[in-house]
């Protein structure tokens, strides 16, 4: 099979959680791919499976969750088939992750320098003590005063500083891919901008790819090369950022963009009608059809395939396939 992304190619990824209420089909065939050094934004509503996707790529889905199907080809290896031990050698070395809550993502009783050192020590197989010069370089790189921060405990740092530390920890081992799961949502707006700028600058310097998970369209527009829109555990649209904002094809993407406030925008903001579907009993066919203004009969019966409508613009919607067919017929 030809890979769509040279660095990461996720195809038909299905993840379920076995809960008391029933099986939650959190991911239902997610498609996602990235090239080296690329920035991909993954957007969607709360509960659409953005975070689960990122955890699945890191193979961090824990009981009662399970990856049921699909391939995650990262750097030529299928991560779904790797042993836990081999996976552990990839985590933190070839790909790493930063989380939403920077302050609770650091061990509160260990010094910050030690925690960064731990990651470096593991990838280089040296003692933690010997990593300190490198830890200091990393702290300087993320814009902190190394002398002051290296021996601090997390509670002595502000939220923004903690997130800088987390970024330093994530990039300390020069990974090929950094997954950032809403890295700015717990921070206030001015710090958000600083953190994004920092991520941008470091990714440029180190050449790593970034998968940015967010629900903030503004962040995506500013930061990402490509965008993947997810809805209820499915990939619904994938395109370059410029193209997606200019010409969104999927009705859901259109709805999302209509709900984003912008300076100078005078028309009324429109919300997408209805609510996110219950993933224990998801709607049949296309999971968006109950809320879709253009729903057709086929949408209720079959899941639309994720196909390339125009070069590098993928959509999972019968609307477009349908249109093409109509044109061909007429």
């Amino acid at each position: 099979m030809e890979l769509r992304g040279k660095l990461l190619d996720v195809s038909n990824l299905k993840v379920s959680f076995y809960t008391y209420r029933g099986v939650v089909k959190a991911l239902n065939g997610v498609e996602l791919w990235m090239d080296s050094g690329e920035r991909l934004g993954v957007v969607g509503e709360t509960g659409c499976g953005k975070s689960v996707t990122s955890l699945a790529v890191m193979r961090l889905i824990e009981q009662p969750g399970e990856i049921q199907e699909g391939k995650i080809i990262f750097n030529g290896k299928n991560l779904v088939e790797l042993s836990e031990e081999k996976m552990n050698n990839i985590r933190g070395v070839e790909m790493s992750m930063i989380f939403q809550e920077p302050r609770s993502s650091l061990n509160p009783v260990m010094k910050v320098g030690y925690q960064i050192g731990e990651a470096i020590a593991k990838s280089k197989k040296i003692k933690i003590k010997n990593t300190y010069p490198e830890v200091k370089d990393m702290l300087r790189l993320v814009g902190l005063d190394p002398e002051r921060v290296i021996n601090s405990y997390p509670h002595e740092l502000s939220g923004g500083m903690s997130q800088r530390v987390m970024i330093g920890m994530g990039l300390a081992t020069h990974p090929k891919l950094l997954i950032a799961d809403e890295p700015t949502s717990a921070l206030d707006v001015t710090i958000q901008a600083q953190i994004l700028e920092l991520l941008d600058e470091l990714a440029r310097k180190m050449g790593n790819a970034v998968m940015l998970i967010t629900h903030d369209m503004g962040v995506v527009a500013e930061f990402c090369d490509k965008v993947l829109v997810m809805y209820a555990g499915n990939s619904v649209e994938y395109a370059s950022t410029a193209r997606l904002f200019e010409k969104p094809l999927h009705p859901y993407t259109g709805g999302l963009l209509q709900a984003v406030p912008r300076v100078g925008r005078t028309d009324e903001l429109k919300a997408i009608k209805g609510t996110v579907p219950d993933l224990v009993n998801p709607p049949s066919g296309c999971r968006f059809h109950p809320r879709c203004p253009h729903a057709m009969d086929i949408c209720k019966l079959e899941r639309p395939p994720f196909v390339e409508i125009e070069p590098d613009h993928y959509v999972a919607c019968y609307l477009f396939k349908g249109k093409n067919e109509v044109r061909e017929d007429g």
Binding site: L60, N88, R91, M97, F99, S104, K122, S152, E156
Partner: protein, 290 residues
């Protein structure tokens, strides 16, 4: 640029507040004083004790308390005061080793069960329940009888029955800690199970176990003394307090001092540990702190 907040002052305030609470509670102070005396007694035992605790002199047997023999002498003419003083070392040694052994078994079992969960948790906790199903003294007696009565086996027997409390405590703590976001962050950074368990989860589980250990020290002395009294603990002529109380049983009517003095010491030290333990618990309880 953001600034580092200095925290040394709140820490000092916290310490001052703790001292203030300690001084406000008279019972805690009494408990601390008793334990301090007990520790000093054990530390300087050979200097304080006027006679050799195991030296027998039948010519002076069963003498009532006098200025020569402060607490009198027993049926073999041994000086009871010296024996009681030296006995504090035995008691302290037992407390120390039992705390270390049972504390570490308990915390390792508990953290393993809590961290891995599932079948591991089920197996380890059911084993713990099996130990808890027996009255602790009866179980300790059974172990002591099986292993043979001496100091080492007494320590093993008591450790084997006391670790369960710490296992349950640290399991609960481990379950709480393992769901914290930073544990997931460490996993994402490639930390293996053993590393996370021992370096990141276990240290967070130690403090409640330490508090519980101080609370249980009185019980440890009592159990050791009970085993000694029943003849299943430390063997004569070693001056263990429980065994000494047992020695004087036959002479209780006429030579009351043989059993009474070691008994008083057991009572006081246990009281001291309990008062101190209660005090520590109150001082560490955030709801009672202010």
């Amino acid at each position: 640029m953001e600034k580092t907040v200095k925290v040394s002052k709140p820490f000092m305030d916290d310490l001052k507040h703790t001292v203030f609470l300690w001084r406000k509670s008279r019972l805690t102070m009494i408990g601390s004083a008793i334990i301090l005396i007990f520790l000093l007694m054990a530390a300087f035992a050979p200097l304080i004790a006027p006679y050799d605790p195991v030296h027998q002199d039948l010519q002076i047997k069963l003498q009532a308390p006098s200025w020569q023999h402060l607490f009198g002498t027993d049926q073999f003419g041994r000086d009871i005061f010296s024996r009681v003083i030296i006995g504090s070392r035995i008691a302290l040694w037992i407390i120390f080793l039992v705390s270390v052994i049972s504390g570490s078994i308990g915390i390792i079992v508990g953290v393993t069960a809590g961290y891995f969960g599932g079948i591991v948790d089920e197996v380890l906790m059911r084993i713990t329940d099996m130990f808890l199903a027996f009255p602790s003294l009866v179980l300790a007696m059974a172990f002591a009888a099986m292993l043979g009565p001496n100091l080492t086996n007494t320590i093993i027997a008591i450790s084997v029955v006391t670790w369960t409390t710490y296992a349950r405590l640290s399991r609960a703590e481990a379950i709480k800690v393992k769901s914290q976001p930073y544990i997931e962050a460490i996993r994402a950074a490639g930390g293996g199970n053993l590393r996370i368990m021992f370096l990141h989860v276990l240290p967070m589980c130690i403090s409640p176990v330490l508090v519980q250990l101080t609370l249980r020290m009185g019980t440890i002395i009592l159990t050791a003394a009970s085993l000694g009294f029943l003849g299943l603990g430390v063997q004569p002529p070693t001056p263990e307090w429980g065994a000494m109380v047992s020695d004087g049983r036959n002479y209780l009517i006429d030579q009351w001092w043989i059993s009474t003095f070691p008994g008083i010491f057991i009572a006081f030290v246990v009281l001291g540990f309990n008062l101190l333990g209660d005090g520590i618990r109150d001082m560490l309880d955030p709801r009672l702190r202010r």
